[in-house]
Subunit: 312 residues, 4 copies
């Protein structure tokens, strides 16, 4: 195993690489682009990389299903960090190209809906064709196959292009969330502004199962931040749920939720507890009464005293 | 403290005494009738008796509020056993009295609704007056103040009366439940067919609090057997709840419910875990999946492994 | 039927009579004391009285089971008004009696726990014996059978007694709630500060039934004000629930709750909607968003439009 | 508007076209392939097509986000039918190509994970490159750009290719669900085996909102069949939910759920009620007690009688 190697969803010049480079440790790691999310994660599973950075959610396009499904199946992996990256596209062209010259544009299929309005307004007649990635689109412009590509502005230099227009995004505040994934080990340290991710499978024949699952969270005042259903591949109508909640597995309220899930669901996969990106612990709101660690400990001690005949 | 003395709600000849005598240990105890439930229980609190037998619920008349309120307030007490006694009244008269001679009848106020239909059918013109207890009514018949008293048939001999009619009860299967109450100590041993009693106070300003309380039980598949609201004395609309559920505090699902209650409610009083009267452990139905001790232990171990980085 | 006759739980001089006399209409009705709650209500059922005033709840002693059970069974009745009466006892004696002369005291059994502390402090050696009612206790003092009776101060004159001590009550703010009961008809007019009472029977074999019942209320933001379990007489462990909630059956959120209860419970008895005593409509807090009549109407209209293919 | 024109997600030769041709009415319509789901649906919105068939869910890959998002936003549309199509791929090649000759393969990105295992086993060295659609991949094979394409076997003839291998699918029972979408009008007729689709937005600052939403369904015994979160585009962590449930808006239990959702959620979009594909009404299980139309009607009538003073 090479502890110094991190893989990421390539090719070079994608937003994933940009996100990875925001991590201080990236400066001292060998960063290896991989052709796909499964490839990036399999490198971790096989031990040829210490960790992989992959996108997991986009505020416009939703969950990245390849990542969700890879984390839910196969050899277990664990999330250690998340990175948020604002997404803005630049229209990259070969030097000298003017907007009026752009007849064909390319980019990742996920980019298209994020620039659709801009295209309709500024290049209504340009023809869109999808590329395997934003960076790949840039390469195809370099090769002359298209006139322009939507990509991160940081990709321009790498492919000998220049940004004709910058900061293009139909939705305000488009953000992509990336996760740094490694092999299972002790979760990231508690910070007080943490997030815990799990995948939960429901029993087949139980209509109220999803409700019961949510009640395990609600009963302990643990806020759910994201819930996403994914098919299990067992047939239409069979789902598992990818769920993020506030708090760390070392918070007793979260540990208690996980125990409840483990008991009532046929399968639960723990994906890690890790700091919430961009949230300072001092900004986290107060807990619901009765859900602090102290209150959990006090309640357990009270029951123990009752069992021993020493209840006050 | 006299370990050999048991008090009970007197006077002699009441159903409570009959219930107490069904306990094998009663044969070797000094049995002391007390004038009221509070008096019987205060003898336990003060140490002058080891335990007290008092009625807590009647299948026709409902909860015995004096007992419920005494258990909820004052120095804590604990329930160690319950006794179920079928309630049937005899019409006790002085020897030689015929039904046609009965112009006045007496009995405990609680007895009246249980014999009302019988009275209307067989003694429509007799005048009812309440006595302090069924046994007291028998005494008043002995003294000649009334012609007949409703009481347990076992009270006849004590007061020189005879049962003119037996097995009187408007409701089929009328039963009274009594509890043997002592000072707080280690709960009664686990049998597999147990019951756990608590008193729960809700926060003042929380409309959904009762719902949350019930969900603590429901979430662990713990069946509630009885719930009774009692005023707290803090004003109209302020209640506490006396709740019995299936299971023993040493069952992890029950311990988990109690911890939940302790956390979310301002006050919980544990009244004991004790065998369910008349229920053989082999008759107890299966647990809901996910609520056995083994499953609770497995879930806790799984979370511990996740915390340690050793999750499967 | 005599529309001019109201019955009440007698005898004369009880708190019930005092409560009844707070109603303006009492001045123009014939007020007839009855020997018991069933007798007072049966007079209404038979048409010999237009309405009956009976106690239903005491802030110290809890529900009046005779009233709860009479309303739950037999020919249906309906509540049209409620009356709240602060309860304070006077110690009534024959003129000339001093406190030091009081060796025996009497009163209704329900009075005893409300004066117990006072007795312990001021008459520790006096012997208590229960009377059929507080007024009856006063009569027995008049007859010389006891030295003093706890009763409402208003009862003194009627029995030729005088109040030796006034305003006796262990609990601050002890209040009894009375209800004016008539035959079923259109409920009392909506005021904006109303209460709705029902009795609900649960299915036999359904552990979560009580939870579902409460959720019908919670889902519409309808605050439950009182819930009381009563045995159905079908055997130990079989209960029905007497429930009061805020709001009027003509409020759509309340009507919706009642429809839900009617569907999921084997039996529901509507006991009436009537003004909340002592609550001005202007004091009633805001409704939970989504539960106003306007929002109910708007939602129904939206669904109708969807059904007709005209949804916005 | 041309009532005779249906659009679909093209190009010709895709599974969508195959699904569309399973509809009897397709034989008498002009079927027009469109370049994207938005284009297919916009043709309906503009009136240039009467309806559009688009994929909405795949049992392996999950929801088709373009379709989910188009239905959730923009001018309202309505689902009138669903079509289920088993998905099996053929490996299409130019006549004469042998398996050993295949060095490069193409197909839609969604096809790749469904044939990944097959590729690893049979063409471990072949290089995959994505095409804009399965049909487009076939066209590129025809043009000689790739050696083979994964597509529906029905696409072979159209592009002068032949199926070298048939029935390729990693997952057993892979199925894609398509929906026939038109402008809003009266929903499809009730059949007894129906499905109702909605999009629900939750209030921003309400952690328990998803739980309340699910309880609206659960309280009426309405089974949820699919729930999918989608970003609203308002920023990370803001979701709406696409939900399918059993039953028709003309079923009172479903109408009641929709009214509840409309009241408690800031926005609900009704997407239609339509027959469940492949489910015969005689196969549909019994309703939960208390949720039939008759029971809803009876409950409403009972409340109306209570309001009128005529309750039994």
């Amino acid at each position: 195993m090479s502890v110094s190697r991190y893989t990421y969803l390539g090719p070079e010049g994608t937003f994933t690489e940009a996100a990875l480079r925001t991590l201080p440790e990236a400066a001292t790691r060998e960063l290896v682009p991989m052709v796909s999310v499964p490839a990036a994660l399999d490198a971790v599973r096989s031990g040829s990389a210490a960790a992989a950075l992959v996108p997991i959610e986009n505020s416009v396009e939703g969950g990245v299903t390849a990542t969700l499904d890879e984390l839910a199946t196969g050899e277990p992996l664990m999330i250690y960090r998340e990175v948020l990256l604002p997404i803005a596209f630049a229209l990259l062209v070969r030097p000298g190209t003017a907007l009026a010259d752009v007849k064909t544009v390319t980019g990742h299929p996920v980019a298209q809906p994020q620039v659709r309005n801009w295209l309709a307004a500024h290049l209504p007649d340009a023809q869109w064709e999808s590329a395997a990635s934003n960076a790949d689109g840039a390469r195809l412009v370099q090769e002359g196959r298209y006139d322009a590509a939507f990509a991160g502005e940081f990709a321009a230099a790498r492919y000998g292009l220049e940004p004709l227009v910058s900061e293009i995004h139909d939705a305000e505040n488009a953000v992509t969330r990336f996760v740094l994934v490694g092999r299972p080990a002790r979760p990231a340290a508690w910070t007080g502004a943490d997030k815990t991710s799990v995948v939960i499978w429901l029993g087949d024949d139980h209509p109220g199962a999803l409700l019961e699952l949510l009640q395990e969270y609600a009963a302990r005042g643990v806020n759910m931040m994201r819930i996403e259903s994914r098919p299990t591949g067992q047939g239409m109508g069979r789902y598992c749920f990818s769920v993020d909640c506030e708090g760390h597995i070392n918070d007793r309220r979260v540990a208690s939720v996980l125990m409840g899930l483990k008991r009532i669901c046929p399968k639960v996969r723990f994906l890690g507890s890790y700091p919430r990106a961009g949230v300072d612990p001092s900004m986290v709101g107060p807990l619901r009464p009765g859900t602090s660690d102290d209150e959990f400990v006090a309640a357990a001690e009270w029951v123990a005293r009752c069992q021993d005949g020493r209840a006050a």
